[in-house]
Each structure stands twice: as structure tokens, then as C-alpha cells.
Amino acid sequence: MPEPVIVTRNLVKNYRNFVAVDGLSFEVAPGESFGLLGPNGAGKSTTMRMIGAVSTRTSGDLAVLGLDPNTYGPEVRAQLGVVPQENNLDLELKVRENLLVYGRYFGLPRARVASRADELLEFAQLADKASAKVDDLSGGMKRRLTIARALINEPRILLLDEPTTGLDPQARHILWDRLFRLKEQGTTLLLTTHYMDEAEQLCDRLIVVDQGRIMAEGSPADLIRRYSSREVLEVRFGSTQNAEVAGRIEGFGERVDVLPDRILVYSDSGEKELERMTAAGLRPITSLVRRSSLEDVFLRLTGRNLIE
């Protein structure tokens, strides 16, 4: 078992009158792609900031690449690449200049930064935009530039805080492809997201975080097995009928979830449940059988209430 690159033990962060992170313990292995999944305000970004050595913890232990970020802030940051939730590119500088200047913040030699910048522009598919203004880039390009910038110091760990929030599907897929390549090259990825498909695409292992605590930990497939069924049957009877129907299908599948607009039946075989429903004389307006996803796990663990 290789030495973990990130170790947290009972990590806690309190702000003046609320607890943002409430005793997180997890480890990330080198080369692993690890996800923090949770609703807004779950404490994901705060955790990322503590690991990124830009926030000091209230209590607990934390080691990043074997170093305590509280004491060795600059040394830790020198080995990390950070992609913050909101792009903070330097708008007064051109695209390539953003990489050059950022590299110099790490004290890297000018020549090395220059050649690395060209490689990264290729990697981020921005080579033809090298002398463009940052403001003229599309959302997806800005995101890729932010990732390229985070890689300028050849970091051992890349921290990505909601890497694809706000991007259109094409831009997201391009970004995932780039991140997947990094993973193949052995870069450790630590990312937060509230997109389930993103977590399933990118994470080897993840924790579901809610209100600063870990609700579950495992690989996406693991979590689905543990907290959901193989398949889900979604049926709609019209919003006025749902409640009445709910009483008649009690005991269907492993679990039934009655929502205002539809009913979900968790089961090993969705088709079988549908047949059973038809046999009972129920005629749903629409029905859909699908594979269970992380979203089902997520909603089960963190509840369906809107979290603001």
C-alpha cells in the first residue's frame, strides 16, 4: 500500500458561529482520483481550502504530501495545483502571459516556465489563443486555461473545486477528457462536485459529505450497490393520483420513494416491478426503467429537501 498523499483525521473548521467541517477523516492514495460529493454548503470548499494550505484548521490532523499545511504553507502550495470554484485568471494579462506570470510566482526559472507554458497551451487546446485576451475566451476555454495554469508547477496533486459547474455539455466533455488524461499520467486528482455524472466519470473513490460530515465512502459502483438497488423504475400517474397509488404499491421492490411528480421503485429488475404493477391493474401515464445512479445514492443520503 503506497504512502497516502493526503491524510485527514477528525478535520474540523469552525467559523465564528457555525461548523463548516465537522470531523472529516479520509486518505487519498497517490495517483488516485478522489471526489468530495455533497450539496451546497456541505463543507467541500472549506475542506479543499484547508488541504490547499490557504485556510488553517480549527482542530484535527492534516498532512499533505507528509507536511502539515499550517506550518509548511508555501512548501505544500508549491506542490499543488489549484482550480478554484470561480476562475480567478488575470484579466490584465494575455492568455499565455497568465501561465508565464503564474509560473514565476512559484519561483520557477523563466526558460522552464516558457516551455512548460507552450506544452500546457497545447494540452488545454488553447495554442491558437496564446495572445488572446482572457476576457474574449469562452467559459470552457477559461476553465481549461485555469487548469493549465494550475499545472504550470507540475503539481503532484491537482485540487479541482467544481471544475465543470456552469459549462455546456460539450465543454464539460472536453474538460473531462483532459482531466482523464492527467489521471492516466499519474496526477492525483481531488475534486468536489455536485454533479453525479461527473463523479461517476472521474472518481475512483469518493465521500458523500453533508453538513460537514461524511455520510458514505467508497467507489461509485460500491456506493450504488450499498445505498441503492441495481435498477430504478420511475412511473408517473399524474400529480393528483400519486398519493392514492402509493398506498397500493407498498412493498414493491426494495424501497419505494413517492415524490410529488413521480414514484420511484428501487429493485433488481425494473421490468418485473412494472409487470407486477400492470397485473395489479395500475396504468401509469409514463414509465421508465433505468440503472441506478449516484444521484439516487446522493438523494437518499442527503435527503430531498432543498438545501440553501
Partner: protein, 279 residues
């Protein structure tokens, strides 16, 4: 605070003690300054230029224009000089102040609140002191540029009455350093544009009343003490003594005033940046 169970790499790192001020300063303020040069070159070259001509306009209008009506003025030391030679050094000190204040307040405010520039910088191996020193050095470089231009104009108009005037350059740097450090510290507390306007509200009367356009002796004694407590007055007196050649050891008090301003301003800025971005 104790670390987690020690791994080999932890032990290796712990054996090397953290550098003094290690988390505050990486010794790389020049990269912050280099960034500023690049940005200035591409976006605010014109703003920089306007800062050079502004005090020259003042000098021409008030020094030569108004000066024709006023004639001679007596300095604090009893020396009689032309009105232009009297206000030129004061305008030089004001130019240094304005250059430093512009860079360290509005520029810094924008970078902090909107561009999130410092957030990005502090995610690298830079510390808050690198950022503060880099930004302030940039303000100083600008102050130096303004001062050199203005001194040349003074020389051309025959307003430098002594070779001591050469020392006005380092004096101006000192003044700019003092205002830039304090300006950046104050800006770090500002949240809105309205609050930023308070800075102008303080600067304008200081510019008008710090014995800039007439000698301190015009004021009744009580008011004189108030003026003497203001930073710009010390700057004006220091530069005026140098360009008119009235040098005596008492000038060191002015130097000390700015030294204190610099230390207090830098310490406060570093503390604030740490609280804002590394808490």
C-alpha cells in the same frame, strides 16, 4: 498543533525547521512586481502618463501664473524664495503621495474585490508579504518615475536652488513608500466604493492645508500642531528643505516619521492579507 502519524517524508520535512516568516514571505516579491509591469504595459500606460503631467500643470498654473502676483515667499528658515520655488517641492511630495496612493488603494481595491488576483497569488508558494512588497514596490517605481520627470522640469525652470535637490529623489521614494504601505493597509478594510471615497475625503484637505501653498506660520499655533501631525506636511518640509538647500539634522525627524509609517503599514497589510486569504 500536532501532525498525523509520522511518515518518512514527514520526518524528513520536520527535520528542516520552517523558515522564519516562512508562511509570510517566500522572498519572491519580484514576481509580483513583474506581473505589475506586464499589466501596466498593456492596460494602464495612459493612466501612468497622466500622473506625470498633472503636477506639472499645477506648477505652471500656480507657480508661474499665481506666482507672478505673489512674488517672493519666506520659508520656515527665513530664506526668501520665489513662489514657484516654494510650491514646486511641495507639489513633488504631493505627486509622490498621489502616485503611491493610486496604486495602493484603487488598484489594490479592484484586485482584491473583483479580480480575485491575490487569491490566485496566495494559492502559489507566495506569502502575503511577497504580495504586499511586490505591489508596494510597483507603486514606488511609479512614484520614482513621476518624481524624476517633475525634478527635471524644476531643473529646467531653475527651481532647484541647491545640489541637495538630488536627494529629493530618495526622499520622494520614502514618502511614496510610507503612503503606499498605509494606503494598502487601509484599503484592505474597504468593502464598497463609498468607503473608498473616504480616502479622497482625507487626501484632498491634506493636500490643500499641509503648508503646500503657503508657510506653516500662517496658522495660529494650535492649528500648526495639527498640521505637523499629518504625514504630508513632513514630506513637504523634507523635500522643500532639500530643493532649497536648507539642510539640517532636524530633517531626520521627517525621515523617522516615514520609517514608522512604512513599518506599521507593512505589518498591518501583511496581517490583513493573511486574515483575508489564509485564515
Amino acid at each position: 498543533m500536532t501532525g498525523p502519524q509520522l511518515s518518512p517524508s514527514t520526518i524528513a520535512a520536520s527535520a528542516r525547521p520552517p523558515r522564519p516568516f516562512g508562511s509570510l514571505y517566500a522572498g519572491n516579491a519580484r514576481s509580483v512586481m513583474a506581473r505589475g509591469w506586464r499589466a501596466t504595459r498593456s492596460t494602464n500606460a495612459l493612466v501612468v502618463l497622466s500622473g506625470i503631467v498633472e503636477p506639472i500643470f499645477y506648477l505652471l498654473s500656480m507657480g508661474l501664473g499665481l506666482g507672478a502676483l505673489i512674488g517672493q515667499v519666506q520659508t520656515e528658515d527665513g530664506q526668501t524664495v520665489t513662489y514657484a520655488a516654494f510650491i514646486a517641492p511641495a507639489l513633488l511630495a504631493v505627486a509622490a503621495m498621489n502616485g503611491a496612493i493610486y496604486d495602493s488603494t484603487w488598484n489594490v481595491f479592484f484586485k482584491m474585490q473583483f479580480a480575485k488576483l491575490y487569491e490566485g497569488m496566495l494559492a502559489t508558494s507566495l506569502g502575503p508579504l511577497d504580495v504586499a512588497l511586490g505591489e508596494i514596490s510597483l507603486a514606488l517605481a511609479r512614484g520614482l518615475l513621476y518624481a524624476t520627470g517633475f525634478l527635471l522640469v524644476m531643473q529646467a525652470l531653475g527651481l532647484n536652488l541647491s545640489w541637495w535637490a538630488l536627494l529629493a529623489l530618495p526622499a520622494v521614494l520614502l514618502i511614496a513608500f510610507g503612503f503606499a504601505s498605509v494606503g494598502m493597509a487601509v484599503t484592505s478594510y474597504m468593502k464598497t466604493f463609498q468607503q473608498m471615497d473616504w480616502i479622497n475625503f482625507v487626501l484632498l484637505p491634506m493636500f490643500l492645508f499641509s503648508a503646500t501653498f503657503y508657510p506653516l506660520s500662517v496658522y495660529p499655533p494650535g492649528i500648526q500642531y495639527v498640521i505637523q501631525a499629518l504625514p504630508l506636511w513632513h514630506g513637504v518640509e523634507l523635500v522643500r528643505a532639500l530643493t532649497t538647500g536648507q539642510v539640517d539634522p532636524g530633517l531626520l525627524w521627517h525621515v523617522l516619521y516615514y520609517a514608522v509609517m512604512i513599518v506599521v503599514g507593512l505589518a498591518a497589510t501583511t496581517r490583513r492579507l493573511r486574515a483575508l486569504f489564509l485564515n
